[in-house]
Structure formats: structure tokens, C-alpha cells
Amino acid sequence: MRLIVITGFLGSGKTTFLTKVARRATQRGLKVGILVNEVGEIGIDDQFMKQLGLNVWEILGGCVCCALSADLISTIETLRNDYQVDIILVEPSGAADPKAVLSIINDFDTGTFSSKFQIAIMDALRIEMLVEVLLPLTTSTIENANLVFINKADVASSEQVDYAVETVKSINNEIQIHKVSMKKDLSSSLWKELDKWIQ
């Protein structure tokens, strides 16, 4: 069973990307389990994904990085034991600390996952503001990721995109960075890269 954790601040494009990955995996015959966490008590993203026919488990009313960490593990156990999914896609709330989420998963994982991959999505329009007011969260998102998408590259200015790239590099110089627009199709070369972790 493979695991992909999709992190990023609120409104960065996580749900749009997760939906693309889930559809691709499903089209390839994989059994996909999606775990969505929202801090509000009424879920929005989970309802939207269910409407699209995806298998979604929601954890609402708090962050899986702290108050609801036990729910995160019990849901993963359910997906493993009762549904035998091939891949789990986890979307923590955009307010959750990615480092804490991964730590909780790593503490639980004693060979459950054949691979674990974290993709961070950064909003080019807002990364400067996030660095200014929520630096620990931004740092945690980037330093733990295997790959970073700079989203909204089509609507952000070139200065905003450059700033986003430089910020990511300043936190994690080794990481792969891709400038994208999640509203549009991802390139075939990018899918080729992602397929290594999906199938």
C-alpha cells in the first residue's frame, strides 16, 4: 500500500491536485482511499470529491496534526484492514503542521506502506504573506516535502513566481520544484514523474 500526503496552506490547490491524482490512479485500476481533513465542522472538499464518485473518508472539526491525530491513524487502519486499498491519498487541513502529520504516520508505520511521498503545494500569490506571518508552517511544509508545486503560476506575476522558487530553495535547496497551474492539465513529463509514486 502506497501513501501520498498532499500538503499546503489553505486555498493553495490541494483538493484540485488530489482529485487529479485520484482519477488517474482509479483509471489505472488502482483501489484508492482518500482521507480528507478539514478544521471546520462541515466538510466542503469531502462532499465535492464524493460527488465525483471518489472514495473519501473525512476527519472534520480539527487538525490531524494535533487534536485529531488518533482519527488519522484509525482511518488509515480501516482503509488497510477493511478496504485493502492500493494507495491512500491524505490531504491534511491547510492549517495542519505537515511535520507533525508525517511524524504521526511514521510512528504508526511499521512496514504498512511500500512507499511514502509528500507533495507540497505553494500558492505563488500568497507565499510572501505566508513567509511573513506563518513562517513555521511554511517551513514545515517545504522542508519535509519530496516535491514542491508552485501553483497559480499562470496568474501570479513573474516576480511572485520567482520569489516562491527562491523561498522554497532557501528552505530546501535539494527539492524538485515545478511551476504549475492546477486548474489546467499537468504535463505528461510531470505525470511520468508522479506515476512513480502512484503505481
Partner: protein, 151 residues
Amino acid sequence: MDTMKLEPLSGRVRFFSDKAVTGSVWGKLIGNLFEKIAKRCESASTDTVIGHIKGLSLFTGEKHIRVSVISGSYPADIESSDGLETDEIEFAINVIVYSLSAKRLESLFKDELRSLQDQTRIKTRIEQLSTQNQIHPKIHKKMPSGWNNTK
């Protein structure tokens, strides 16, 4: 450093029009409402950070209207399926704003619903509204003003 307050507001609101309008018109109307709420939140405190103000209305046949606002400075992102036309619509709404209390957020939200009713022919009814007093770990701490990672 002060810990940034995060007290989400979520709920379900029903909107009524005196005539059936398209999904696109509903999307623009809700988008405009969310933009106003975002601007009000941002002017309420200099420390305010909008996480998102997001809404979803689902219809049969995989049709939907989805509206999201991430700042008072950017227009709402609106998705609306073709072929929708209705005089009544229910939106699930999720408002996540740092540094405003749930009580203040609820008051702003209700104010803007009232303004919508006063300024248009749209009527609204809150079906459900919940607020949370949630404490997050130190990761949500605000950096000192002017602090910049690239310096």
C-alpha cells in the same frame, strides 16, 4: 510572538431568489458575498490572515457550484456546472480566518448576509452555524512584524 487564533466558522445557508437564475449568476453572487466578508475580516484587524472562505452547493448529475476566496485582494474563484437554473440554493460554507474570534467572525458573517438581503432581492436563511474554539500548537505562531526569511 503571539499564538495566532484560529476559530473556524462553518455552516449551511439557504439563499432564495424571486426568480430562477443560472448557476453562474448564483456563483457570482456568492463570490461577491465572500469577497465582502474577506474585506471586512481584513479590515477588522491588522493581524488577520484569511485561510479561505469556501462554499459548495451540490446538485444531481454531478453538478455543482464551488466558490472560494483566499484574500480580500483577489477575486473569488468560481466553478459552476452548465445547465443549472434554480430560485433556491443551499451552500455549505467554511470560513477559516486567523486572528479573529469565532464570535467576531460570526457577527461579520451575519452582517454581510443582512446587507445582501437589504441590497438585493435575495433572501437568506441560516440552516446551521457552528464555531469552534480551537487551540493549535506553536506552529501557528505569528512571526514578528517585518521578519523575512530571505533576509
